[in-house]
Symmetry: C2
Subunit: 219 residues, 2 copies
């Protein structure tokens, strides 16, 4: 197909397609004349990947890393997908991002028997989230951690079992997009489960069982 058709099929504007070509994010088409090139399915697919990654908030520099791994995978699946996942947001702008130890995350990972590598961006993210929980007076306890970790692991296992293996590109796309895209699904499901479980536990329950000192003090 010509570039005009690529624009129509992908829904990406011509100026953007040209920009991705110049930046090397989109592989060149096959030259069919001095001024024209032919594009194919791989171009449509690449544009849809870039669009999806931009849609979950990745800046171009991070999209470049992922696209680079699709085109030139590392030696193992694990390294390749690990590298791609490390390019995902959130990006910490904190000074803490430069820290060389994350004590709360370390304690959690040691308890779970998982590798603790402070260089993983997600370790800094975990540290920050655990510190926030501590700040508001609901620190992570072993009791909570054990339940959370067990169930989250089962979810992660099914995530990886469902990973397509028809191509390197499919596997990386699935890993990156599945990780980012399903986080809001999981948080929404948890809130809805709170409502559903709460409806059973508290349907007709009044605050009679609760200490009411606060209410009396603040009429």
């Amino acid at each position: 197909m010509r570039v005009s058709e690529l624009v129509a099929v992908s829904g990406v504007p011509l100026a953007t397609v040209k920009y991705y070509l110049r930046e090397g994010l989109l592989m060149p088409g096959e030259a069919s004349s001095a001024t024209q090139a032919e594009y194919g399915e791989q171009h449509v697919r690449r544009l849809s990947l870039i669009k999806a990654l931009a849609g979950v908030g990745l800046p171009l520099a991070k999209i470049r890393i992922i696209v680079g791994l699709v085109d030139h995978p590392a030696d193992t699946v694990f390294e390749t997908i690990g590298g791609a996942l490390a390019a995902l947001p959130p990006y910490s702008a904190d000074a803490d991002a430069e820290a060389d130890d994350y004590p709360r995350a370390r304690a959690v990972l040691e308890r779970l028997g998982q590798v603790y590598r402070p260089a993983y961006p997600v370790v800094a993210q975990l540290e920050k989230a655990l510190a926030a929980a501590e700040d508001v007076g609901i620190p992570m306890t072993d009791e909570r951690l054990d339940v959370y970790a067990r169930h989250i692991r089962s979810i992660a296992e099914v995530d990886l079992q469902l990973m397509p293996t028809d191509s390197v590109a499919s596997a990386i796309e699935y890993a990156v997009l599945g990780t980012a895209i399903y986080e809001p699904v999981l948080t929404a499901l948890r809130r809805l489960a709170h409502q559903d479980v709460g409806a059973t536990m508290f349907a007709r329950r009044t605050f009679d069982g609760f200490a009411t000192s606060d209410r009396q003090e603040n009429p």
Copy 2:
């Protein structure tokens, strides 16, 4: 304590304390003279709640709803906490937020046997997240949903079991802050579980088992 001590203890600046008093978010102190008032533990606690809610991104109008429920709970625990949770972000600015049906969320909730109420903000959030997954070519399947929902429900159950019942204020604070604050912990744990499970599944695995057409096409 005097207002200057309240400022010191809470870490909230005087101008902000006065603003919260004027807005009715902070209950008045007990007048000790024509120009002075005494403040107590409940004021410190209220300021810390407001600070924590602002810290997870709630605008003042939403904080007002939650504080209002602490002071004047609804008839049942469920209604009170449900009302408080509905004040949490994310807030959708989409036109869809006004939709009266969310077909993807409805299908998911029907399959799970949970109540579908389009008026719950989190239902719109679920619909949006499911649509995004569809857009990037990883739509929610029954297989994935059943695993996700079962494990998320177990997490939600422990969340509610750990809820303090010493006071109405504690219960609401826990529900609201625990919901918002633990979401990033869970998403970080899932990403770390992906790495850990992946290391076992893929440690030495190369892409030999994968179709390599993409790699040959894009040297």
